[in-house]
């Protein structure tokens, strides 16, 4: 026996490689037997867990010890048919006793379960100690099992000496797999909605007893390897782990089996390293896998969601910093911003601001020109990002006021949060819904979209602001743009349908050629029409539905005279 105060140093080669090279047959046999037990328990446990029967599984595996002990005393054998029959019979008696206790007498179901399983379990323990010599069975093995001992009993299989337990468990796993496949729909209907299954004639009661029989088989099969107590953990823990990882039954079965098998492999090496009981180590490994999943699971893990929360907080404070610097540009001279001013105005703790600035500088959104880190300046990338946030914030405010009817002075706090969460597409849909507003409800300008409709700087005419100058580059209809050489008048054919066809016809009537330069001079009467001045000096009114289809390249250079034609590839079309 190892000294309990001494934990041997872990050595990968010594504890993970040597057992496989030194004695492959025994190692593989142990891991395989454990894995088969784990898979069978994982599958059966999944169905128990889904019906809220985890406790019943616990109770039954304890009571079945009585059946196993009785059969062993009568026959002198601890495996085989009589043991299975004994365990199943005692299990069914326990189920009936539990049901009778809590329907007839005034005993609650959980209390009934506790009474029945502990009394039968205690009786089994008493019998075990009374007649320990008669059968090859002692309390230690009965409760916790011993895989090495389980592998020692061999029988003949196709001319080979194979451990009996290995054969039994392999057969059991194959049988459970086959049953689950054959009766998938009956088992699913029974587990999800027993009454509905009964109405359809799917015999849920028969399948329930069938499931309990398979549970008995599994407990008996696992008895020699992990014992009557530890098998409970293998029934519940892998299934519970799988449930945390998936939302579908087939996935749950697959993962429960995998976790059960992995517990065997990890548990074996754990036991080899610490020189402890393999069954105990296997259950410890299963519980470890559950703990890891509970903490770090992809969608529900505690640590995972904590990390996600911290990341979101960090992103929001960074975004608050750049948006505030963007807003400061309108009231301060374009010099670097003092960090203390930011802290005061954002009301942000110094460590949060410090972290945000450090991250922003790392992402090349902030520059620290002085090097003292008290003077901060937005980079082009930072300004780009800030513009998007400001646009989302102000469009959301406009949406709340115009469409939802929220009071003007109530909208700012919600917009402060939502600006970080809205997707680019949703922001553009808001813009469309609101008719491409230029100012927010407080009268502040809403920044232009930074992405454009057909590449940077290319917008539909209705998104242009007063004073904007641009060049007509095409027509658009639901993402399809028509930009052929020659006048747009020629494009009322294939590919142009419905509203776009009408718009094309109107544009043709107005004689707006591709490459035409225009300047927006006014947005009229609730944004119902746009007044544009063309390069030839004409001023025309374009209705909103038409301006939604005309693609314009926004020209950056200021244009004191409207009539000039800058040189460029598109101007050749004129």
């Amino acid at each position: 026996m190892p000294d309990p105060s001494f934990i041997p140093a872990f050595d990968f080669y010594q504890h993970c490689v040597v057992p496989w090279t030194l004695n492959f047959a025994d190692t593989a046999g142990t891991v395989l037997l454990g894995a088969l037990v784990g898979v069978a328990c994982g599958w059966v446990g999944s169905y128990l867990l889904l019906q809220g029967l985890a406790l019943l599984g616990d109770a039954l595996s304890h009571t079945m010890l009585l059946g196993i002990v009785l059969a062993a005393l009568l026959t002198g054998e601890v495996s085989g048919g009589p043991v299975f029959i004994g365990a199943t019979a005692v299990g069914l008696i326990a189920v009936l006793a539990i049901e009778r206790l809590h329907t007839g007498a005034r005993v609650k179901e959980d209390a009934a379960m506790g009474i029945v399983f502990t009394s039968m379990f205690a009786l089994a323990v008493v019998l075990l100690s009374l007649f320990a010599g008669r059968a090859h069975l002692d309390a230690q093995h009965a409760l916790f099992g011993d895989i090495t001992w389980a592998l020692a009993v061999k029988s003949n299989f196709l001319g080979h000496e194979v451990p009996t337990d290995l054969l039994q468990m392999a057969g059991l796993v194959a049988a459970v797999g086959l049953l689950v496949r054959l009766f998938y729909k009956e088992l699913l209907a029974m587990a999800f909605d027993r009454e509905f299954a009964a109405v359809q004639g799917l015999r849920p009661q028969a399948f329930r007893y069938g499931m309990l029989a398979v549970l008995a088989l599994t407990v008996v099969g696992a008895f020699n390897s992990v014992g009557a107590v530890l098998v409970v953990a293998l029934l519940i823990v892998p299934a519970a782990t799988a449930r945390l990882l998936t939302q579908r039954l087939p996935g749950m079965l697959l993962l429960a089996g995998l976790v059960g098998a992995a517990s065997s492999l990890i548990g074996f090496h754990l036991a080899y390293w610490l020189e402890v009981s393999t069954g105990g180590a296997m259950v410890t490994a299963a519980c470890g896998l559950f703990a890891v999943t509970f903490l770090f699971g992809p969608s529900q893990g505690l640590a995972t969601s904590a990390v996600r929360h911290v990341r979101l907080q960090s992103r929001m404070s960074q975004e608050n910093v750049i948006r505030h610097m963007f807003k400061l540009k309108s009231r301060l001279p374009p010099t670097p911003v003092d960090r203390r001013l930011l802290r005061r105005e954002l009301n942000m703790p110094w460590w949060t601001l410090g972290w945000a600035v450090w991250r922003l500088a790392g992402r090349n959104m902030l520059a620290i020109p002085g090097g003292t880190s008290n003077e901060l300046q937005l980079t082009a990338a930072g300004e780009h990002a800030a513009r998007r946030l400001d646009r989302a914030h102000r469009l959301w405010e406009a949406f709340l006021v115009d469409q939802v009817g929220v009071a003007r002075d109530h909208v700012h706090p919600t917009a402060e949060t939502i600006e970080h969460l809205l997707s680019e597409q949703l922001v553009e849909r808001l813009d469309d819904l609101l008719g491409h507003p230029v100012t927010d409800p407080h009268g502040a300008p809403i920044p232009r979209s930074v992405i454009g409709d057909q590449g940077p700087g290319v917008f539909i005419l209705s998104k242009m602001r007063i004073g904007d100058r641009g060049r007509v580059v095409g027509l658009i209809d639901g993402g399809v743009s028509i930009a052929e050489s020659g006048a747009l008048a020629a494009t009322n054919e294939a590919g142009v349908t419905g509203a776009a066809a009408r718009a094309t016809a109107m544009i043709a009537a107005l004689k707006i050629p591709l490459g035409q330069l225009l300047t927006v001079v006014d947005r009229n009467a609730g944004d119902e029409s746009w007044s544009v001045e063309l390069a030839d000096g004409r001023t025309i009114d374009l209705p909103h539905r038409l301006t939604d289809h005309l693609l314009v390249q926004l020209l950056d250079e200021p244009s004191p005279e409207y009539g000039d034609v800058p040189s460029g590839p598109a101007s050749a079309a004129n």
Binding site: K185, V199, G201
Partner: protein, 266 residues
Amino acid sequence: MTRPADDPPREPAVHPPPIEVHDLTVSYDKKPVLWNIDVAFPEGQIIGVLGPNGAGKSTLIKAIMGLLPIESGWVKINGRPLARERRAVGYVPQRESVDWDFPVTVADVVLMGVYGRLGLFRRPGRADREFCANCLEQVGMATYADRQISQLSGGQRQRVFLARALAQDSRIYLMDEPFAGVDAATEAAIIELLRAMKRQGRTLLVVHHDLQTAPEYFDSMLMLNMRLVAFGPTRDVFTTQVLHKTYGGRLTILSEAAEQVAGTRR
């Protein structure tokens, strides 16, 4: 819209009634909850089952479907024992009767409606899946097919149960409080669906607790209070007198208001 009470009573002479209950007594924990129920439901109607809490409404429909042991009497479906007419009966259980955290999608749940007619070993095929998609469409839940059921609201869960019942494709339906705890829009959608099912000649037996909407929804009513108080066309049964007999002294303000509604319709 049909005025329910205007339908002439049908003669059951040609074929047997869809559901016939004869001298049915049902006990729960040895205490009888239904005494000597005798009733034959007419075909192609929406029939309400009404009565106070503990009157045995759910017990009656569960007994009809063989989910509870019968103490005495018998139930016949289309003139035959239930065991030979299982496919004829569809069921919408109470919403709380299942674990909505179960790892299945909306489509999986609806597909369970076809399990009954597949038989052992056969698995649902493409035709079954398409049929179920159509059922989901009929309850306005087609876009939710791949959702995990725990993500649904109460009204959506009720719609999923109705879609599963549609997938059963039965001639007779027993529904346990399909209107319980759903919003107004869902309630309107559900009654529209039930009326469409009725137009296809199906018979619907619906446990209901809201006396205000009852006269509008049901062609016939079964008034229950551990015994059968009255059964017949809504116009004959939904009267102050019968309601008093059914609900005893336990009429609430809401149901008194409904009585006044009933009084104005007489």
